[in-house]
């Protein structure tokens, strides 16, 4: 473990994490397909998870990894709910373009 960190260096993990996070952000901002937006959010979550794990190793502290487990569990639950909503939207509107969700405005 230490080896890998020594070989690659903490900063690379950070860069990767930032890049992943930005990809996620731009995905959320630019795409209109709800599923892709969803995926982008997952990417952002995982970018953060990656950072957690990296720092956890760096500091020799297991707390970060424990946290990631929680975060993944919550993300899984969220995906289940979110996909269920998407299915419901698709059944109602016939598409999953997020622009259609304007109609939800009161």
């Amino acid at each position: 473990m230490n080896n890998i960190l020594n070989q690659i260096g903490i900063e690379n993990y950070i860069f990767l994490s930032v890049i992943l996070f930005c990809i996620g952000v731009f995905g959320v901002l630019y795409r209109r397909n709800a599923i892709i937006v969803f995926m982008s959010i997952e990417i952002m979550l995982n970018a953060v998870n990656l950072l957690f794990v990296a720092f956890s190793t760096y500091h020799q502290d297991a707390q970060g990894q424990v946290f990631v487990f929680f975060s993944m569990a919550v993300a899984a639950a969220e995906v289940a709910v979110g996909l269920a909503i998407l299915v419901s939207i698709f059944r109602n509107l016939g598409s999953i373009t997020i622009d259609n969700l304007k109609n939800l405005k009161g």
Partner: protein, 627 residues
């Protein structure tokens, strides 16, 4: 025993008020009138008991009920002082009050709110008793305000007429101005001597030589302003003639016999204060004399029977103030008493006339009532003779003493007062001749219904006429029971000498001749020439000025009312508009911002996300930069 009786004396009318105000309607008219009258008669009976007691013992009765206010060394107790002066006042307040209540039973019988009327009258008597028997200035002030309130309620008794309401408001506001003066006077006396109790105040003033002269004089002046308001002296007299809007018994009781004499009572009560400030005394004398003259001149040309009497009241009150200002308190008190008799009689008589003519008050539409209403005529004639100062009637003695005092102190004031008395004789007999002599000038229908009033109305008239005749006996020149009686209150009387020299007899003769001249002039004009006052529009010249009361109301209107209205309008239209537009403006700005902000929430999720991300970026960059 004394305490309980004094409480009965005070609270009998109050009980009458409570009964009439809460159960008056169910009791019915007659019963509410009887209860109202009886409650005052009870007070009168107790007063007589006290009066006889004090007449024998000569010891004032001091009743302290409880400590009212106590602040360090300043203490005000709630108590009553029954001494010679207050009992004298109580005698005619409750005595004449009983007669007028009796009169009102018949007079107000056709009024649907008769029980309210009696409730108010009872309340008035209650407050008047409080005013008179209060042992300190603050208790007196309660009564002082209370009678003002009742006066307001009773002037505006027929509140459906807007003019009457205005008259009531005018009386209330003018009295309020005077009351402020009274309050200021009380405050100053309280701060100078740290007591406002009459007895201790008297000791404090007579034993403390180091009081502040300036503030003491201001206090006396302020007290006099208070008296001016209540007793209708220049410049605060204009409310009294307008107060005739009230039912006639009210005019007789409140605006002739009792309440308006409160100012004279207060000054007599505080004679030890006024005696020490000659400058204020001379102001009082001059104001009194001028008021007497001015009101008498206005009275010369009025055509409303009650207005004539109202101005006559103002004029007579002026004479009393003249006497007060000259330090002759006992003479003022004497005139208060005789005036209460004959003026109450005159007012009640005029009420009887108005009653017979179904509300007609204009003397131009009267005349020839002598035959139809003999009792009213004779009683009013006696009262008129009394007020005109015809010898042997009560007014002769009291008015003559005022003139005598004036002559001894100040000749110009004597001249003014004498002229006023001649005018009094003239306008009183003008009233008599226009009302009772010649032919009836009203409508045929009224003539058909002319009748003498019922005995409930004539009985008080007869009693008052008798009193107006013999009232002078209490203070005959040379041997005055009244002066002896009042000596404990007015210590100077003990040393005063009563001799009747040739000057005095000459002055008496002048006064009598003056009065007769006044009567003669009225006779010549209204009987011989059979003049009837012209219509309002045809009055010209100086009489027009007089008829319009020197335009004093208009002047007050221009000087005080209009500027205040303009100021109020300015505040309403400018200041208030500015303030409210500021407040409304803030509201509008907020509203506008929200309205515009609402547009951002258009439901486009893409935009939300963008803003969300931008915000996140902003926070992150801020956190970095901040470090």
């Amino acid at each position: 025993m004394d305490t309980n009786l004094a409480l009965v004396l005070l609270f009998a009318p109050f009980l009458g008020f409570l009964i009439n105000v809460f159960f008056g309607k169910t009791l019915g008219k007659s019963l509410s009138g009887i209860i109202g009258t009886l409650s005052v008669v009870v007070s009168f009976a107790v007063t007589i008991y006290f009066f006889l007691q004090i007449n024998q013992t000569k010891q004032p009765i001091n009743i302290d009920l409880f400590d009212w206010i106590q602040i360090s060394n300043f203490k005000v107790s709630f108590g009553f002082l029954l001494d010679q002066l207050s009992l004298l006042w109580l005698l005619f307040v409750t005595g004449i009050g009983s007669l007028i209540h009796l009169y009102s039973i018949s007079y107000m019988h056709d009024d649907e709110k008769m029980h309210t009327f009696f409730a108010y009258l009872n309340l008035f008597v209650f407050f008047m008793i409080t005013l008179v028997i209060g042992s300190n200035l603050l208790v007196m002030f309660i009564g002082w305000e209370g009678v003002g309130l009742c006066s307001y309620l009773l002037i505006g008794f027929w509140y459906k007429n807007q003019e009457y309401n205005d008259a009531a408001k005018k009386a209330f506001i003018m009295n309020r101005i005077g009351d402020l003066g009274l309050l200021v006077g009380i405050f100053i006396l309280g701060s100078l001597f740290s007591t406002i109790d009459f007895t201790t105040l008297k000791t404090a003033i007579t034993t403390a030589p180091d009081y502040n002269d300036f503030w003491f004089a201001i206090a006396a002046l302020a007290l006099f302003i208070g008296a001016c308001g209540k007793s209708a002296q220049i410049p605060l007299y204009t409310w009294l003639p307008d107060a005739m809007a009230g039912p006639t018994p009210v005019s007789a009781l409140i605006h002739a016999a009792t309440m308006v004499t409160a100012g004279i009572f207060m000054i007599t009560r505080l004679n030890f204060v006024f005696d020490l400030v000659p400058s204020v005394q001379s102001i009082i004398a001059i104001v009194g004399a001028v008021t007497a003259l001015v009101a008498a001149t206005i009275g010369l040309v009025q055509n409303d029977i009650k207005k004539v009497l109202a101005y006559s009241t103002v004029s007579q009150l002026g004479l009393m103030f003249l006497a007060l200002g000259l330090g002759a308190y006992e003479v003022a008190v004497f005139h208060v008493i005789t005036h209460a008799f004959f003026k109450a009689c005159l007012f009640l008589g005029s009420g009887s006339v108005i009653h017979a003519l179904h509300g007609e008050q204009d003397m131009r539409k009267m005349g020839g009532l002598k035959k139809a209403m003999p009792i009213t005529f004779i009683t009013m004639l006696i009262a008129s003779l009394a007020i005109s100062g015809v010898p042997l009637f009560s007014g002769f003695f009291s008015k003559d003493e005022i003139l005598l005092v004036a002559f001894h102190h100040n000749i110009p004031l004597w001249v003014v007062a004498s002229v006023a008395s001649i005018m009094t004789a003239f306008y009183m007999f003008r009233l008599m001749f226009l009302t009772f002599f010649q032919e009836f000038r009203g409508t045929e229908e009224q003539k058909h219904h002319l009748h003498e009033s019922p005995s409930l109305i004539t009985f008080p008239l007869i009693v008052l006429a008798i009193l107006a005749t013999i009232g002078g006996l209490i203070s005959l020149p040379g041997h005055s029971w009244l002066n002896e009686y009042l000596t404990p209150i007015l210590p100077k009387l003990a040393s005063a000498e009563h001799h009747l020299g040739s000057t005095e007899y000459m002055l008496m003769a002048i006064a009598v001749v003056g009065g007769l001249v006044g009567i003669g002039l009225a006779y010549a004009k209204y009987i011989k020439q059979n003049t009837v006052p012209t219509e309002d529009s045809e009055i010209t010249g100086f009489s027009k000025v007089l008829y319009n009361k020197y335009y004093v109301d208009e002047i007050y209107d221009a000087i005080f009312v209009k500027p205040i209205n303009v100021l109020s309008l300015f505040f309403r239209d400018t200041i208030e508009t500015a303030l409210s537009s500021l407040v409304f403006g803030l509201g509008k700005v907020t509203n506008e911002i929200s309205f515009q902000g609402k547009k951002i929430q258009n439901g486009s999720i893409g935009l939300y996300l963008l803003v969300f991300v931008l915000g996140l970026c902003a926070i992150v960059s801020y956190l970095f930069l901040a470090q």
